[in-house]
Structure formats: C-alpha cells, structure tokens
Symmetry: C2
Subunit: 395 residues, 2 copies
C-alpha cells in the first residue's frame, strides 16, 4: 500500500491523442500542431530596451514582491485601453493581472466550482482549458459550434438539463480550434440565457486582436450590466507568450475571491514581466503594433488557404476564419483519423487530430487543427504539399 | 437569486487579522510585518547584465512558449546544485520549475487531495500555505512546534486520529513564523512515520540557504529512498522574489500529475525569468553570493535581537533563530494582543499578530512575528524603541 494521486488528476492520464502531440515536438517537424503566435511578430528590440531601462532605473521595484492584483500602473493602463478599444470593463469591475490566460480559467474554476459541478463548454474547444476544468473535478458538457458560434438552442437545452452548471466557457473570436466567430445576435442571446439561469460567462478572448478580415463584434463583456461575465485577455498573442502576462476583468461579486485565488496560486505575476508590458504601452504605440502584426497573420492565413485550395482540394474542406491562429479543416468521413495523422507525422508534418478538442475524445471527429502562425512561409507551402501527396492515397 | 462563490472560497473571507495586515501596508509604517528578503541582498547589476545578454543574443527563445517542466538548462543546473549542496534529489525525482514557492504547495495539494481531505501542518505555520490548503477545501490539523521542530509524539497522535490525511506540511529550517529548526533526529522520525502511514511529506525550504549560525541539518528529502517527499525550494530569498522562480523536487509517482498540475495552472513559468536564473549560475558564483548575503542577514538579526534585549526586556521573550527572516516573539499572557498590535500600528510599527499563523485563528496566541530582513537598520532601532515605549504601558 502507498499514498495515491487524487481522482481528479488520475483521470487526466495521457491519452492516445496526447501521445501524438508529443511526437509533434520532434525536431524537423513542420509545426502545424502548435498554438504559438508568429515569432516574426515579437517586438524583440522593444522588450530588450524596456527591460534594460527598468533594470537600470529602478531594479529594486522590479525585483521585490508585488501585490496579487497586479502592478498598479499596468492595471490602470489595461483598464483604459480595454475601455477605449472594446468597451470592456466598468467601475464595478476589477482588473487582475495573471500569469498567462490559462490562469484566468484556473482561478475562475477554483472560485466558482466545487468538485462534481458542471461547466458548459463549446464543442470542440481549447484542450488547455478543458484539461484545466477537468483537473478541478468538474464535469464538462459540450454545446456544438456552428459557423456563427455556439448553437444557442442547444445551449438552452443543456442549461435545462444541467442544474449544477456553474459557468459557460466561450471563445467568441476565432475560436480555438473551430476558427468561428460568434455573431452579435448570439452573444446577446447567450448573455440573456446566462443571466436568467444564474450562470457566469467566462469569455476567453486571446485572439480578438488578431482579426485580419471583417468587422469587430462587441465582446459579451461589453453587455455586462449585471456583473456576470469574467473576461480573459492576454499579451501572449500581441507581445509574446513566454513573458506570461495576461489579465482578467472580474465582476465585483467575484473580485475578492479571485484575488485570493491568485494569491494562493502564485502570490503575484512576475514584476519585471508586468513592468515590461506597462512600459511598452507608455513608450510605444501598441495599437499600431497590432495593426502591423495583423498583416503578418493575414499573409500567413492567406498562404495556407491558397495552398490547401491548390494541393488538398476535394480532400480537405474548411471555412476560412477571419483571424486568430487556426484553420479547422474537415476530412472525408471514411478517413481513419489516427492513421492519417500518423502518416503526416511520418512525413514530418505535425497536425492536431480534432478529437483532442472534444469533450468526449472517444467520439468520432473528422477534423484536424492547422496552425498557420508558427511555421515559416516555406514550411507552410512544403507542409501542405505533403498533405496533398498523402491525400492522393485516399482517392 | 444569483450565482455564488464556491464554499471553499467563501470560507476564506477576510478575517480581523487580515484587516490588520492591510493596515501594515500603509505608507510610513516600519515594516516588521513583511516577509521580504533584504533588498540589499538583490544582485541587481547581475540581473540587468543577464537580461540584456539574453535579450541581445537570443530574444526569441526568451519570448516563445516554454515547456511545463521548466527551462531545461535551469532544471539541469538546479538538479546538480541541489545534489551537491544538500544531497537532495535522485534519478527517480523530477525537477519542476514553478512560479514561486507557493505554487509548489498549490500543485501538490491539487494533485494529492480531494475536497474534505486533511493536511497535517505545523502550528503555527506560514499563512500563505495554510490559505492555499484551505482554498482547496482541505481540513487542516495542527501539530505544535517545539524549539527543535514539530512535536513528533503529537504528530503520531494526529496521524492516528486523521485517517483521511494526505500529506504533512513542514518548514524544517527557520520555520515561518516560529524560527525553529527541526533536529535531524526528528526529521528521521517524521520520515519514518510518514512512510508507515502512507503519507507524503511536503518539505518547504525557502529559507535553508539563509543560515547565519550553527550547522546545516540534512533535508528530509535527503532521506527519501521511498519517493514520498515533495521538496520545495526557491530563488525568492537568494536572488529576488519579484522574479518568481522556484522549484519542486517531485518523486516519480507524483511527477506526471505534478507537471499536468503546472500545465493547467499557468502552462509554464516565464521563460526570461528562468533564463536569468539559469545564466546567473553559469556566469556568477551563486554559492559565494549566498555566503555574502548571509552576512547581511546575520547583521540584521543580531541588530534586532540586541534592540529587543535592550528596549523590550522583561516584556518580550524569544528564542534566537539560526537563520531565516523572522523572530517569533512572546508577550506576557495578560496582554490583549489585538489592542497591543493596534497600539503599535498607531505608532507606525507594523507586526503580525501570531494568531494569523494558527490553524484556528480564534485560539489565543501571545506571540507576534517580527521580520528583520525588510526594514533598514535605522528602522529596526527606531521600531524596537517604539515597542519598548509601548511595553512600559503594560508595567
């Protein structure tokens, strides 16, 4: 006899899908499986200058303990920036700086749920968030997504049948992996449904700034007159992910518990990291930077779509997303997906099989997720060509 | 009706003690209440040089996503350093880099416990860890500490009476707040008891490198031939806390779950932060730095003890710790502690009332925790003088 791991973590044992994901990290792989922003978009020189300024002028303040809410000047900057840019946040909301976006999902789950509670998710959805929710012993119930976001009629049914649901998790812009953007009409219906059923909405918006086509849709949080939406945003995709700075906009009722949740998780986010982001806003034009990097993403998205149309026509279909990092590509129903993904890996092309993003990953799923931001242009062309060659085997 | 906060967080509502702690952050306060290392001990110039080198030579690698286990060169360095310095870690252990030491407590609790489980703690113990455990819905049971560490006979009783205990939490070196160091004899008995009862030991050692007197005692982890000890160490006290880099040495059986726990918490620790620490080891002599900063701590500890002996004799008694950051000072039993602490605050001297560190903070406690590392020498003298003046009111 010996001690044992908690049940909620026992259930998170590596699945077949995770084993495939491991293989995708091997050297020489063409990385369509990642979720990284484009390294061409990192403001490397700026970060170097900013770090040097901070550590020259005020090293102690960058190295002492910070407060759990986050570095005050950054909180203030984010508050104003979000208000101007997206009409997000009121005086009743609290900005909390977190160590990456996943921490917002983690703390929200800790604060709102108890083991055995239900979380309503889009299906498919981001595997990182799903695993975070699972690690708290929560049950996940999925609502299918359509080309304009969550199926709201289905959501209504799911709410009716899951009385112990605590919140609804959504990625309304350029959903991961689906690529879809929720219409404003659906956002309003979702908000209304949540309100009527005493549910919180966890709105995850890591990709919102990476729109390359179409018009911005107001965030659900911009409708939040009732204090029921926790909004998660991040600097991972517009500055760089390794710096681990993100933020939550938290309604009054949850704010106190959320800050304690941050405190018991890691006390506070790295101070130097937060000061770099804060000073980035002070000394550079962040909005212009975003405009600039959108061109990089637009180019890469178009390139991958052009290649798919050229090399994989009649085998792979997709709806072109208006932004983000991913294309959710559909294969014919008779393709054995595990076999197909392994064939790609053998040819050094890594993609993520769609089942990884399902609530129940034993369900059939004939999609793959393709990331166009990480690979170089040459790799995009080369990789999709290889996909085209393999497609021929299925004719 | 509306949504609600989970019970485990509802129970973490601010206590009277926490309200006092808030007041201690007011400007002009003499900071005996903090837990920060001395800013005189921060290697500021080195951090600036290292950050600049990293962001000049290899900015992309500092800004991309990292892996959940941590930056590989740092993991390797920490592994060797711990082995040489403390005989901690075997080939069966995994080093995981965390965002500060608290995250080790948090992930260990997630991985090993379920709501309602029991965690055995020293009493008093570090409020940050206690609140972390509480936030997971765990019950805490306290074992009193003596001048040579936990009362092991009492521990045996507590284990017998708490069959759903999952692990024992201990700070064996210069305990926070008690200042005590557990004897080697007690470490061996503790290990044996844990082993016999299928309990994990969570050994928290943030202060071990800050010994200013006496001989090092081998860590409990150095006895761990059975893979039952999770060991937490940190760079917060020897480099700087704002950088948020710490580490866990995790036995094989727990390692997989622990890494998933890290992943669902915040994906990975900031890469630049980890690279700074890694390169600090490569380019500077960390052991010499530790020797140097020990002198700072020795000086400050001696200064505070001398002042206490001079100004507060017959009112405040204490056992001088051999290292760490804190003096656990005892007041006469008839002193109303809340009144006393508020008197100090009114005179701009902030201390933490001992009840903050008790498992049940409604129990009487006639101690205060004094931190000697944060305040300047002048403030130490001035603050203890004020304490002496207030002591006179109790004669």
């Amino acid at each position: 006899m010996s001690y044992s791991i908690s049940n909620k973590f026992k259930n998170l044992k590596p699945s077949a899908v995770r084993e495939i994901l491991k293989a995708t990290n091997e050297p020489g792989m063409i990385a369509f499986a990642g979720g990284s922003p484009s390294t061409d978009a990192f403001p490397c020189d700026e970060v170097k200058i900013l770090a040097n300024e901070i550590l020259s002028e005020n090293p102690i303040s960058a190295l002492v303990y910070g407060v759990s809410e986050g570095y005050e000047p950054l909180r203030k900057t984010v508050k104003e920036w979000l208000k101007n840019r997206e009409n997000v946040g009121t005086d009743d909301d609290t900005i909390v700086i977190t160590a990456g976006g996943t921490q917002v999902m983690d703390i929200t789950t800790r604060v709102l749920t108890t083991e055995g509670d239900t979380i309503i998710c889009e299906e498919p959805s981001f595997i990182g968030s799903l695993n975070c929710f699972r690690s708290h012993g929560c049950n996940l119930v999925g609502v299918p997504i359509e080309k304009d976001g969550m199926n709201i009629d289905e959501l209504q049914e799911v709410i009716k049948n899951n009385k112990n649901a605590k919140f609804i998790y959504t990625i309304p812009n350029f959903q991961n992996p689906g690529g879809t953007t929720m219409s404003f009409e659906k956002r309003k219906r979702l908000y209304q449904l949540a309100k009527e059923n005493n549910l919180v909405i966890l709105e995850d918006n890591p990709y919102g700034n990476l729109r390359v086509d179409g018009e911005d849709v107001p965030p659900i949080k911009s409708l939040d007159t009732d204090g029921i939406v926790v909004y998660a945003g991040s600097f991972s995709k517009i500055l760089a992910p390794g710096i681990r700075v993100a933020y939550a906009v938290v309604p009054k009722k949850i704010a106190g518990a959320f800050v304690i949740g941050k405190q018991v998780s890691d006390v506070h986010t790295g101070v130097l990291n937060q000061m770099i982001v804060s000073r980035w806003f002070d000394e550079y034009d962040v909005d212009s930077h975003i405009e600039k990097i959108r061109e990089i993403y637009k180019h890469k998205l178009n390139l991958m779509c052009d290649c798919l149309d050229k090399y994989c026509k009649d085998f792979i279909s997709y709806i072109k997303p208006q932004g983000g990092l991913f294309i959710w590509a559909k294969l014919p129903d008779d393709v054995d997906m595990i076999e197909y993904v392994n064939k790609l890996i053998n040819q050094k092309v890594a993609v993520v099989p769609g089942t990884a993003f399902m609530i129940d990953d034993s369900k059939p799923c004939h999609h793959i997720r393709l990331n166009f931001s990480t690979p170089s242009d040459d790799d995009i062309i080369k990789g999709v060509k290889i996909m085209g060659e393999i497609a021929k085997e299925y004719k």
